[in-house]
């Protein structure tokens, strides 16, 4: 049943990410067309809690979705055991979630070692 649950989790995150990706791309198109500077973009993001919520949700979805897909590729094409693939996927989940949330933290004005994003 675990396999079926993970399968559904991956499809659900995919379904939720699809409109988010469109939203993200439209935002990028708008930002480049309006020729916004990095400073302006940062200021706008920081003043909009919705954008922070949007990108936090996006980062969480990616952290769940991508390792699940890579896990299957590791088993099917990489010929790894399910156990080994599980460990790698878990590591990637933590890594992606950590990197993503670190970025969000920086967007909200939090300080991170190593300078600005």
């Amino acid at each position: 049943m675990v396999e079926a649950r993970l399968y559904i989790l991956q499809r659900l995150t995919a379904a939720m990410m699809a409109p988010m990706v469109v939203g993200h791309l439209l935002t990028i198109l708008y930002a480049t067309r309006a020729e916004l500077t990095a400073a302006t973009i940062l200021a706008r993001v920081q003043s909009s809690p919705w954008l922070i919520v949007f990108y936090t949700a996006f980062v969480v979805m990616v952290a769940i979705h991508a390792p699940l897909g890579l896990r299957k590729i590791l088993v099917e094409w990489g010929r790894l055991s399910t156990r080994a693939a599980n460990l790698i996927a878990l590591f990637l989940f933590v890594l992606f979630l950590g990197m993503g949330l670190r970025g969000i933290w920086a967007l909200t004005g939090g300080s991170i070692s190593g300078g600005a994003i």
Binding site: E3, A4, R5, Y7, K72, W77, T82
Partner: protein
């Protein structure tokens, strides 16, 4: 007389192709060709067949790279005078064209494919409405005769040893839609287990290769949908 060049796999996991020359005839199947070679040229060739007319599913082989029933594959349909015949893929090779189908049939059982009933022979036969949605779904999958062609055609089977494969899951689908089957939940749980329906990539190789035009891909999609509803707490998809 025109002749065919026939390459037949000799050996087991290791081996090589042996080449034979067979007269080309107007009406000739791949099974006819193998039989002619075995009868007249090399009696040591091993292959399986029984009914010769597409009923039993024993004679499946890889012909020019694709899994097919050798009895229902006419030489003329191959549009080639060079015919390469190998055993089915995704199964251990025993000798020449004969494979060990034990794993294939074991998985059949692992997918929860035993019919269970609470009725006895004293009870009247169940009245099943043939036009019901459920029965239509069961009927669409039920003609499978276990030939193993879909299993040999499936890429996921070749990548993942645990995967139960299209035939076993197709059977599970016909069972979960059989209203007389009392072990429906057990079958569904088995079909959505580690090697179950969620492994399918919906590539449709099984559907393309099936000699009688069944669509295990659709059956597996049905199981996926049913497992989603089952995990979300509903009884029926």
């Amino acid at each position: 007389m025109e002749t065919l060049t026939v390459q037949i796999w000799r050996g087991a996991e290791t081996g090589s192709f042996a080449s034979f020359s067979v007269p080309k005839r107007d009406n000739q199947t791949v099974l006819d060709v193998v039989t002619e070679i075995q009868q007249r040229q090399d009696q040591s060739i091993s292959y399986r067949f029984a009914c010769r007319v597409g009923v039993c599913g024993s004679c499946a082989m890889t012909v020019n790279g694709k899994p097919r029933w050798s009895c229902r594959t006419h030489i003329s349909s191959l549009k080639s005078s060079v015919i390469t015949i190998e055993p089915l893929k995704n199964m251990p090779r025993i000798k020449d064209l004969v494979t060990d189908m034990t794993g294939f049939f074991d998985k059949w059982g692992q997918a929860g494919n035993v019919f269970e009933s609470d009725k006895t022979r004293q009870d009247a036969p169940a009245k099943v409405d043939p036009s019901s949605q459920q029965r239509k779904a069961a009927n669409a999958a039920i003609e499978c005769i276990n030939c193993g062609v879909c299993y040999a055609a499936c890429d996921v089977v070749s990548w993942n040893d645990e995967y139960l494969g299209p035939a076993a899951l197709n059977r599970a689908w016909s069972l979960v839609n059989d209203e007389r089957h009392t072990g429906k939940q057990d079958t569904l749980v088995a079909a959505m287990g580690a090697g179950g329906c969620s492994n399918c990539h919906s590539q449709g190789n099984c559907m393309t290769a099936c000699p009688i035009g069944l669509s295990p891909t659709r059956s597996i999609a049905g199981l996926k949908k049913m497992s989603l509803f089952s995990l979300m707490g509903k009884q029926d998809g």
